[in-house]
Symmetry: C2
Subunit: 571 residues, 2 copies
């Protein structure tokens, strides 16, 4: 592409409303333009990268045997009512009325639609397994869209849905998709982790997320030091602490802690570690009443684990302060498991403590040297806390460290959740009607672009992996309009690289070198070839990889440039 | 593709609610599935064809120098209010409110959006010309969606928008796009005509449509016998009839025509040709009053021409019967230009008549031997009628015949209509602010698929041109499961054709021959190779083009098959 015929619209100023680097750089480099809240247009330079990501996703889905389809973005409400999600999806689903006042939505996902088609077209087990995918536009009406493409309302998604006669067939296709996703994330050049995930409101059993590691990631990932364990902290189990509590020696003490309502205040006031304290949260119970959750003072509740506990209400909800104070007869800052008026469940780590401090269930007082079993009944034990750095890995593979990641893909074994609700069944080889097992597999295609920018940039701009760079290489001639030899060398190299199948840009805009360099760096083109009279006098081009500290001279031949492009330069 | 791993979901029954052949065949062949009113999913076999059409469109747009972008489907209402089309688009535009109760629409077209981006990004004439295109999903909330993909509510469109400093630049790009479109329609294998068109509510000046000829086409096209003139009948001019009216001889006669209210009734009653009568329609005038339109009895009013006349209201509207009867003092069936209480404009052909019959403006009476100038004032002449078969071509290239066409593309010189409303301007080389000239260019990508089916099918099913067939060729082995030599020959040929880059299907489903043949014919695969033991004994395959009357034997070699594929067989 000749840049004289290609709109490069870069700015030096960081846009005021862009909070994260990928948003800033994609605006500055002219990759995207904002149309409205959470609505972005992909401009020519940005679309080149998006299309390359899309092509890799399509190739690997085809290679894995999935079949491409294209379903509408506008869905009749009846299908969503049938699955029960018309209500469940809440405000995030964009609802639409057509001219005849019929209800529709802008599809945030397509389980209902594909189930509808499958139940009409598939009648026999002989037609299975099937895996249909599409690369198509979704809309989710986020309350507060931000971070540009990362959390846009309208976005491009690859969604796939597989159907099987039994759970084994589903598990096999899940593994097949998992491998395809690993190839996709590898090919786009991302540093990623596959982590165990919670299934959320999509439902089903097994599920994993594909995260691109980046400091700006919204998700925390728990990864073991020996590498075999990785989970979203939301889904990371913690091991019961296997210590035998020492025999109880000291008597229970009533401590005056006037105005000390938080764990941190109490620990500071009593000169104790947070990990010597038991805190008690009060949540709504599954039976409609209240239930206490005891945690070690330095631990955080994992609300997803709580919601999954049979005695705790789902979705998780803390009790209102007024209800708590009525039940306990004291302020929320002084709660504890001793003389507790409601049932208590304790996290394993809290249960491992002895001689601990806790609220006295009396204003301005705590208890010291409290002990389970002696001062209150031994509560039910459960895994209820967030995993933390240094925890032992649940699978024994060393200790846990936490990384930040951006979710780029998510695969689910849905089982029969949707196929049952929507009556998707076939006759098996005995002529018996069997409800299908279903998997679903999503990739945020447009989001991947932003995620790679978060992972791969520097102060000058983006740094693209070759496979998804808007241009793989750029030729930057110095003095194009005054040197015939520069012009000739640039045109020849441009033609040679095009002929070799390289997606190359020729910067023939006639700008000064600094402006050309700044644009190429901001846009993140991985390979730059500078052609000037000085170098040509020695039959040399200047070559620099976007990650390299400095440029170096190479022979002024297309083959020498292609040699550089074949090397992986990681700087 | 092995059909054992590819869902072929064909039916023999014609779906009850499919009115036209393309809709019937696309459903029967499993190309599409209905999701709701005007909403269709593209299933794997159909999407293969859609993607091939899309790829041809993309290649030719890129070749023509247009730059691909991707704009959101959901647009903020403010942009449409700014252009004035928020009201103008009426119920056809799908309006949406988000969770914060803000107004949006599902974009039926993208003039407003692209103008918004251009005015922010383009500041100097040096950045021009620009031509941005996208292949993207549109929604138009048709009152009565029907004909399947042909008039779906959600559909895939290629829309392009070009911007220029002056009208000459626009005209040059219009010609460039016109040539690109001609290449696209040629490459997809369609028999098409480029016709002069009305600009409709998109606005602007010059505009042409690309029509695929087919009996089911909703549009009538006027094409000259010598070929140089072609126009949508809506936009086809008619020539003034250049005859000198004979000197008037007979006196005006008052004829009793009791109960004869239509031209046809009067002509029959008086034993006259329809073309000897002048009929008078009454429309709303531009000044708010009524205006009479005189036409020859056998001609139809062209409402678009009428609306474009400065004295007639736009949009065109017939006057209410009650208002007409009040003004004329008689029923609507007896109107005429003699003693007419309102101003009259006459079509050229009506004005060429002498001694004509017309309504007497008195119930149950007509006038005979009426003459312009003698019995009433010479009215203003205008071109107001629909062109008919046999009319002289407006450019003198013989006579007109009428063809039916399906609109697949439309190109417009919009001029400054939108750029003025949305303030899209740049500084020219004198530093002066200049409002840009704009063109827009659309192709109904999904509709093209249906249009080609309308043009190219027979009683057995679709007949695809090679370039957009879901599969170019199909290998149909007879007795795959009992003949080792058939299996081996089929597998070898399949591998050889794949290696030669042919998009080939291998029917390894193990069905009986009749079922395999019926599917291949319904789906419209252009080249079929049958492999059976009988042929193999003579080292022969059976080859048949989908259009050919009969099959014939060819040597059992890949090269012989490739030879057949290289020939154009038109049967």
């Amino acid at each position: 592409m000749r840049l004289s015929r290609f709109p490069i619209s870069t700015t030096k100023e960081t846009p005021a409303d862009a909070e994260i680097v990928s948003h800033q750089l994609m605006l500055r480099a002219g990759f995207i333009r904002k149309l409205g809240s959470g609505l972005y247009s992909w401009m020519p330079v940005g679309l080149r990268t998006l299309k390359k990501v899309e092509a890799i996703v399509r190739e690997e889905m085809n290679r894995a045997g999935a079949l491409e389809v294209l379903m509408p973005s506008v869905h009749p409400a009846e299908l969503w009512r049938e699955s029960g999600r018309w209500q469940l999806m809440g405000d995030e689903m964009l609802r639409i009325k057509d001219r005849h006042d019929n209800d529709y939505c802008y599809g945030p996902t397509h389980e209902e639609v594909i189930c509808h088609h499958l139940r009409q077209d598939v009648k026999s087990y002989k037609q299975l397994p099937l895996n249909y995918y599409q690369i198509q536009t979704k809309f989710r009406d986020e309350r507060r869209p931000r971070f540009g493409i990362m959390r846009a309302r309208e976005f491009l998604m690859k969604d796939a849905y597989s159907f099987h006669l039994d759970a084994e067939g589903l598990a096999a296709e899940y593994d097949n998709m998992r491998a395809a996703y690993a190839r996709i994330f590898t090919r786009i050049g991302a540093d990623f982790r596959i982590v165990k995930a919670d299934s959320g409101n999509i439902g089903g059993s097994r599920s994993e997320e594909f995260h691109i590691l980046a400091g700006a990631g919204e998700d925390l990932l728990a990864v073991s030091s020996e590498g075999s364990y990785a989970a979203n902290v939301e889904a990371a189990e913690t091991l019961p602490v296997s210590v035998t509590r020492p025999p109880v020696l000291k008597p229970l003490a009533r401590l005056s802690t006037p105005g000390q309502k938080t764990c941190a205040q109490v620990a500071e006031y009593l000169k104790l570690g947070l990990d010597a304290k038991v805190k008690l949260l009060v949540a709504k119970a599954a039976d409609g009443g209240l239930i206490g959750i005891a945690l070690r003072g330095d631990h955080q509740l994992n609300e997803i684990k709580a919601a999954n506990h049979p005695k705790i209400a789902s979705p998780f909800e803390l009790a209102a302060a007024r209800d708590v104070e009525q039940a306990f007869g004291c302020e929320v800052g002084y709660l504890g498991p001793v003389n507790c008026p409601i049932p208590v469940i304790a996290d394993h780590a809290a249960l491992a403590l002895s001689d601990f401090v806790c609220g006295a269930n009396e204003n301005d007082h705590h208890l010291g040297d409290a002990n389970w079993g002696r001062d209150c009944a031994e509560p039910e034990a459960a895994d209820l806390r967030m995993i933390v750095e240094g925890d032992p890995a649940p699978d024994g593979s060393g200790t846990i460290r936490l990384l930040r990641g951006i979710e780029g893909g998510h695969i689910f074994q849905l089982g029969q959740k949707y196929t049952q609700a929507m009556n998707v069944s076939v006759l098996d080889d005995n002529g018996k009607d069997v409800t299908l097992h279903m998997g679903c597999y999503g990739i945020g295609v447009s989001r991947l672009v932003a995620a790679v920018v978060e992972q791969s940039h520097d102060a000058q701009g983006m740094i693209w992996p070759d496979a998804i760079a808007p241009f793989t290489a750029i030729i930057t001639p110095i003095g194009l309009d005054r040197s015939e030899s520069v012009r000739e060398a640039a045109e020849t190299l441009y033609a040679d690289l095009l002929a070799a199948g390289i997606d190359v840009a020729l910067d023939d805009r006639g700008l000064r070198p600094g402006a050309m360099f700044a644009d190429a760096e901001l846009i993140g083109i991985p390979h730059r070839i500078v052609i000037g009279d000085k170098g040509l006098a020695k039959a040399q081009f200047e070559y620099r990889h976007r990650r390299a500290e400095t440029a170096r001279m190479i022979p002024a031949q297309a083959e020498a440039v292609l040699d550089q492009l074949r090397q992986t330069v990681t700087g």
